[in-house]
């Protein structure tokens, strides 16, 4: 199993009280792949059903954000490879 990768980047290095900070997290894992299974059923007469699909993620990742000042960061979005968090300074 490969190790995941992550880089965390803040939109600025310094903030004033009241500013909203944005934290962009780019993450991934070579083992983490979307999986789609498509099933069709065919009877003896050769009639085939419409395909049904299910999706899953192999080796899903979890993202944890910890602030040394004890502040909470709120997840704004997460595409599965790029997540954005924010907090008011």
């Amino acid at each position: 199993m490969a190790a995941p990768t992550v880089t965390a980047t803040l939109d600025r290095a310094t903030y004033k009280p009241g500013d909203t900070a944005l934290l962009t997290v780019r993450y991934g894992d070579p083992d983490t792949k979307p999986l789609t299974i498509t099933v069709t059923v065919t009877d003896l007469e050769g009639n085939t059903s419409a395909p049904a699909t299910v999706t899953a993620v192999i080796d899903p990742l979890t993202v944890a954000v910890v602030d040394s000042a004890g502040k909470a960061w709120t997840r704004v979005s997460d595409s599965g490879s790029v997540a954005v968090y924010s907090r008011v300074m």
Binding site: A3, T5, V66, D67, G70
Partner: protein
């Protein structure tokens, strides 16, 4: 300098982390006040002893023994901790102090004398029932005591916030206290700014920049004889139980979640221009 650590973990427990540091900067300039004349942003790795005395004494009005080990600075935050002592401290007169607490003051290190000033702190309370957290001032030459804010926590995520001015810090004389009930939206476990302003005539208390209550020398003439021009010594402490928590029936006891800590981002003093 605070930082934020992001850790990504896969289903097998493999993990990777990335750290991003940030700084919260402000020159502290306020309309009508200008830049601070005294400040501590706690951006070092230890308490600045040129600004603060870190006490190792105890007081008669609460159950803690002050220990400098309970005062730390890291990540841009001053932390004042309270711990349950494995071996309680016993005073020479036999009084048992079950808790280790923290107490800083600026005695002898305070800003130059200020006749009109604003004292402010940005801090986050802990959660322990019966904790008594205070940022308060004593006049350097007159008997007055100004409590910028005192908080008594209920252990349930709330508590009491009290703003008080005393004619005499030793008690026995007049005082004026105001208990503020924050709105439901007030998050007790977030950082908030608490301030007091004194212009020689009016004394005001503010939370997050909003005036909560004010008094004047017209209604309280003793303000003029309790506060002068010699300046104020600041005090910041985590007290364990004691007279104010007892008053609110919120003693520190075995149900109090310890260790606990008060976190302070900054302390700033402004002087009103003449």
């Amino acid at each position: 300098m605070p930082d934020v650590t992001v850790t990504v973990t896969d289903s097998s427990g493999n993990a990777a982390s990335s750290v991003a540091s940030y700084a919260i900067t402000s020159d502290g300039t306020l309309p009508g006040w200008g830049a601070p004349v005294w400040r501590d942003e706690f951006d070092g790795t230890a308490v600045d002893r040129s600004r603060w005395n870190v006490r190792s004494d105890y007081q008669s009005n609460h159950g803690g023994k002050n220990d400098p080990a309970n005062v730390t600075v890291a990540g841009g935050v001053l932390s004042l901790a309270c711990k349950r002592l494995a071996t309680p401290f016993v005073t020479p007169t036999g009084v048992v102090k079950p808790y280790g607490t923290a107490y800083l003051d600026t005695n002898g290190k305070s800003p130059a004398p200020l006749a009109r000033a604003r004292w402010a702190i940005r801090m986050r309370f802990g959660r322990a029932k019966g904790s008594w957290l205070a940022f308060w001032l004593r006049d350097a030459s007159l008997p007055g005591e100004l409590d910028v804010v005192e908080a008594v926590l209920d252990g349930l995520g709330g508590g009491r916030l009290v703003f008080t001015v005393h004619q005499d810090t030793n008690g026995g004389k007049a005082k004026r206290g105001f208990e503020w009930r924050p709105p439901a939206s007030f998050d007790w476990q977030s950082f908030h700014e608490y301030a007091a302003e004194w212009d020689g005539v009016r004394m005001s208390w503010l939370v997050d920049g909003v005036v909560i209550t004010s008094i004047t020398t017209a209604a309280y003439p003793w303000l003029s004889s309790s506060f002068g021009t010699a300046g104020m010594n600041m005090r910041l402490n985590y007290q364990a139980g004691g007279s104010m928590p007892d008053y609110y029936h919120l003693p520190m006891d075995t149900s109090s979640a310890l260790p606990d800590a008060l976190a302070v981002e900054w302390v700033r003093v402004h002087a009103r221009p003449a």
